[in-house]
Amino acid sequence: MTDEEFRAEVRGWLEANLGGDFADVVGAGGPGHEHEAHERRMAWERRLGEAGWIGLGWPVEHGGRGLSLVQQVIFHEECARAGAPGRLGHMSEQLVGPTLLAFGTPEQRARLLPGILSGEVLWCQGYSEPGAGSDLAGVRTRAVRRGDQYEITGQKVWTSLAHLADWCFVLARTDPAESRHRGLSYLLVPMDQPGIEIRPITQITGTSEFNEVFFDGAVTAVDNRIGAEGEGWKVAMATLAFERGVATLGQQVGFERELSAVVELARSTGALDDPELRTRVTEAWIGLKVLRYSAIHTMAAAGVPGVEGSISKLQWAVWHRDLGELAVDVAGSGALVTDGPPYELTDAQRLFLYTRSDTIYGGTNEVQRNIIAERLLGLPR
């Protein structure tokens, strides 16, 4: 199938479904709306799974479709263009799936991949802790082996979808004698059990997307460990690299829509006639083009990006945050009040506040700069 034929197929399917019985979720769950329409978006995951739109790049022998990077990008682009709802299965498909493909045993793959591919099983991430945000090697959650089980005690934070997820992938310390990145293991933990408590975190947007997750003697089978005991660091680092993948190009279609809305807003408030704001809008527009050319180039040049992922993350996170501030600035004094009680933000306000997280989660700007300086430029520690 040529890329254009593939695009037509995707587009046709999306039209049929988003124009049909999923019309109610068009545009749902975008940036700043992550907390919305969970049930319907889970149904959307299942619909994607049924139609074979999950695991596009995975090998055919593991249930994927073995599509090219370009075609994966096309799928993401078309989804964004059609206003497909924000993905709940992002972590399942982009993080856990590739981790299982790379480090899982045949048994683990056979047992766990199908639920991801069908969109029926949701995963959440158990990495960050209150004392270990950017510094993952400082993880203190402990897992003690008792027979064929691990007993897990500790606290994770910034866990999105924890209240919906069936499983959590947890980085825990299995060898208390070791410190830093030694003695960690990568455990898959079922969420539906008494030893786990979930508390939502209210964000600066007034909504909740993230959670704190408390493990108090939660258990998981030893069979649910990925990689060898004590090798969790290596697995987790690989997962983080998976995170910055092909979704970036699709994401830009969303950026484009946001930027168009900002330009329209600027036109309506007269901000486009303000020399300063006009200049900033132009710069945002140029910046988005650079993001686009960069993503295309990275894809064409390298395939799966390594340290390039850090460049890309830093680049788009800063652009997006700046766009958020530009949005409220072109809104002018209209940005002073919200649409209504209790704290119903306008799109511009939401973008302003929500994008503050872009430069923090998934590796802060500061961590990305460290990576770029040391690994790409070779500057000494």
């Binding site: 950017s134 964000q203 409220v328 940005a335």
Partner: protein, 335 residues
Amino acid sequence: MDDPMRATEQREMRATVAKFLDDNADIRTAMALDPGYDKDLWRRTVDELGLAALLVPERCGGLGMDFGDAAVVIEEFGRRLVPSPSLTTLVACAVLDQCGADDLLARIGEDGLSVSIALADREPTTVDQGRITGSKQHVIHGADVDVLLVVAGDDLYTVDTTSVVRRRRVALDHTRALAEIDLTDVPATLIGPAAVVTDLLHVALAAESAAAAETCLADTVEYLKVRHQFGKPIGSFQALKHRCADLAVLVAGARATAWYAVRAVGTDELASVAPLAKVVCTDALMAVAAESVQLHGGIGFTFEHDAHLYLKRAKANQHLFGTNSLLRGKIGESL
């Protein structure tokens, strides 16, 4: 920032206000209340600090202090983000004093009235035979203050608060409630020219923002000293240190600018300094608050932490009473 010329006197007043607010102001509770501020706290502010009488001249039974003193109060409220109509009340008194509105001033001082100023048009405001018709927006605590001053054309009026329709709006900045006010053929009393109203509001926002920036930076620096990652306080990482140093330069400039603007009140320089100070100080607060969220990491993105309150106050102050881009545009025209 204390006026170095009157350092001792103002330092004592600042300490008094600071202690009062540290002991009594609970921002989180106040911002969740319906009016958006704590009316009991306002009452105590009036009774214990004499805030309403501060700028009321002695001839009207007030304390007869000057705008430099008012700025000290505005700064201490501002650096703690205490929701309160104190800023508008103080600015209003300064304006009323210039207009010689002695009766109203006496009443404000005596009864401890809160005041706000309706400046921004929501719909055009017109005056016909002593009656105002129009609509105003972004009136700070405008739904709940005792006295409303309304700018119409080049003049300032006071109106009977019971004759207007006042609607609280939910504000981006939780710590500063804003109201819409509809006026339909409302009897109004002329107070005088509105000329300095905007300038004084700009100076007040400048002083508040410079002080808030100072506190927000200090809080962030403290966090960097205690928060450990990679085995050491993150405040020892040079990249963060240098960013804080750049912020310290911004804050120093903002403090000096606010201080200069406060001293310009009552001089010919006010008209040119006031909008400039508003732009410089609110931009400095925005820069500091934005970095504060970032440097706090995840915790800075939670509602529970105060970093976002500074961020929202910063953005609101940048936009209030003429957005900064608009004001900078006007400054540019004067070149």
